[in-house]
Point group: C2
Chain length 428, copies 2
């Protein structure tokens, strides 16, 4: 089965917006063994849309279209599909009721323009949108099934999973192919270093291909396999994943796509432990990442984002002499910050960051990109200094936060004892 993906909208066409939907859809289809042959993008222009639908239909069995289902005048997908298929638009009463109910639930008046979203090419299957106002639909043009979905990624993803993929699976029937991917997420090495490490690892497994993907600040090692026996494919992926893990050691923080913060959270739950944070240069990002994980209130207690030195002193009980003598960005200060946060919040563990995210504030001794990380636990306090010379301010904040979380992860796994790290990195 061949599929094409069409993103519509002037925002994407003109480059104002990067289209991430098409890659997401491609990956989902390929996972089901459906071959994606082309992506296209055109703007909000009726004539062009009609022409493109006409071009795709004879080439593909399935087309996934995103965008242009909104209530405004430049939302033209539905009209264009109708023209390309030679169908008129008819009001779908169920869809209208659903849209009305959506607005009622939100306690907001429904605007007249939203009625437009309940009209579809005659004979289309309406695809419900449980989290937005724009339903999708499926229409056949010249033997090709066009699935039209909203451009809002969250809505598109839900409808793709709930409405589109099940329909495609039932179409493929017994010939169902599986494309499986295994993702090993790493932190702390460059793409080329990892590439060299894992090179040749799939030699005995010619059916598995290996790709590297930079998902800043992670590098992911991805293993791909295709076939019709899902269990067998998973078994083979497992063997190679284990070999990759053995090569990369503690650089791998998850082999199932989980984020660093989710991994750290799971480790804390396993130990029945809690955590507090003291952040300077990361400016709240560590707390933000940790609290993105549902259920994080079970272990995350507190973060003191102490940007100003007075806040470090007042809130975290850092002695003013420590800052005066060693500076805010120092191993001594982050150790005090970590200890202070841990004590205030009565947490099992705490991590602290102080560094220079730039663009200003660097010195010869402590250039932009320098970060000190402190870690406090029942066994004591430790600290280390790292240097990330690449990226802008927000990139550096991400690297600093990730390095701090990774420090806690390794400690929770017993990979880095507090004392050992202390000896290696502290000179007091």
């Amino acid at each position: 089965m061949k599929a094409e993906i069409l993103a519509t909208g002037d925002e994407i066409r003109s480059g104002a917006l990067v289209d991430s939907n098409s890659a997401y859809i491609a990956e989902a289809l390929e996972r089901e063994g459906i071959e994606v042959t082309r992506h296209l993008c055109v703007g909000d222009d009726l004539k062009t849309l009609v022409a493109v639908f006409g071009e795709i239909a004879p080439r593909a069995d399935v087309a996934l279209v995103t965008g242009g289902l909104g209530p405004t005048e430049d939302d033209l997908t539905t009209e264009a599909v109708a023209q390309a298929a030679g169908l008129d638009l008819v009001l779908d009463k169920n869809a209208l009721v659903t849209i009305e109910a959506f607005f009622k639930r939100l306690g907001r008046p429904m605007s007249r323009s939203n009625r437009k979203q309940a009209r579809f090419p005659r004979g289309s299957a309406v695809l419900p949108n449980p989290i937005g106002t724009a339903p999708g639909f499926k229409t056949i043009i010249n033997g090709c099934a066009f699935f039209c979905l909203p451009g809002v990624p969250r809505e598109m993803r839900k409808m793709l999973a709930d409405e589109v993929i099940p329909r495609l699976i039932s179409l493929t029937g017994d010939n169902r192919q599986f494309s499986l991917v295994r993702t090993l997420s790493t932190f702390g090495s460059t793409e080329s270093m990892i590439g060299e490490r894992v090179s040749g690892i799939t030699t005995d497994f010619p059916d598995i291909s290996l790709g590297l993907r930079a998902k800043f600040p992670e590098i992911q090692v991805r293993l791909y396999i295709r076939g019709n026996d899902e269990d067998q494919l998973n078994h083979r992926l497992g063997i190679v994943a284990e070999r990759v893990g053995a090569k990369l050691g503690n650089k791998v923080f998850s082999d199932d796509g989980r984020s660093m913060q989710a991994v750290v959270g799971d480790l804390l739950i396993k130990k029945d432990a809690t955590v507090a944070i003291a952040e300077s240069c990361t400016g709240g990002l560590i707390a933000h990442l940790l609290t993105n994980v549902p259920g994080s209130s079970n272990y995350f207690l507190f973060s003191g984002v102490t940007y100003a030195n007075d806040a470090k002193i007042e809130v975290l009980d850092v002695p003013p002499e420590t800052i005066e003598t060693h500076g805010a960005v120092s191993l001594q200060t982050v150790r005090r910050m970590a200890a202070g946060a841990r004590q205030i919040a009565n947490a099992t563990y705490s991590i602290a960051t102080s560094g220079i995210a730039g663009p200003d504030g660097g010195t010869d001794e402590k250039p932009v990109g320098t970060v000190c990380i402190g870690l406090a636990g029942p066994e004591g306090v430790t600290s280390k200094r790292l240097y990330f010379p690449y990226g802008n301010r927000t990139a550096k904040k991400k690297l600093f936060a990730m390095a701090a979380l990774d420090t806690l992860r390794r400690h929770l796994l017993g990979m880095e004892g507090l004392d050992i790290v202390m000896k290696k990195t502290i000179k007091e």
Copy 2:
């Protein structure tokens, strides 16, 4: 002049990689007044590539192609262009010398496959690549100029700026066109509400088109104009932008693309004021957003991310009775949190959030999506309760953080006096 953009490569086709090159190129071309009509993406397949080059040539004046210039067997762009143009491949001696010098400089042996990168369709203009091994080239197919560039974003961007754009400008000559965009960023209304408000606003300006863009949690109103007199275009955009601003009132927080946090930062600087934050449900996101702005250390002092009630009591001096009587998510508690953060940090202003981001923790009285926002300043303390019923946990955190920053923004602008808000929203 019409342009199309083609991204090549199985990684992008299969969705393993999000294509950010095409948006970057589109924006650069549109800025020069070149209309981008289509993006395409196909994989590393010679037949498909040749076919697609043949399709693009009669439709466009210019085509920008990325990827497929590397040394390996699946790099097929050069071969495909030659076939589509009916030209043979010839070795370019200058290019070969440059590639050899590149490897010498890195101190690495040049592999035989790299020689391939010095062969181009006969008569092509070679486009030097100063930071990588793959030179690009320009070949005419059926009257359309194909510019082929490497897929590595850093190399592509440099060559686009140094080699492609100047050639395109000289092609357009005196007919140079400008495409200008003005962005008004809003918060607090839905896309359809804003669409209705601004509908018809460009009736007297048929040369200006208006588009809405949901950049969650903002809604942007974007005004587009194209022509050859840059000053005149800017003047006309200014008039319409002012009208849009008048229609949308204080919902507009910037008219130059600045983020909410940058706007709040600028207002604080203007008032020579500082800010502290007390965050519960936003979990550090407000601090993270504020500290993403370079120079934020001039006004941002502290955020207490007090997830646990004990941290609210211990760090922010919230009386335990307040939490016991009214709950952590209450107007009373956020007022105490705001006052506490302001006092600890000795800040001019402070904002506090406490709410339920979900997925768990909601009640009938305080469902998931409820947030209380407190604001403390020299004039006193106030609070309000809002309800955002849409989106998952991370979406709700974003909405809560944005609402809190917007509350501060409006207060700094004198749009919302503390007392007035207090009367409207507090019942104590």
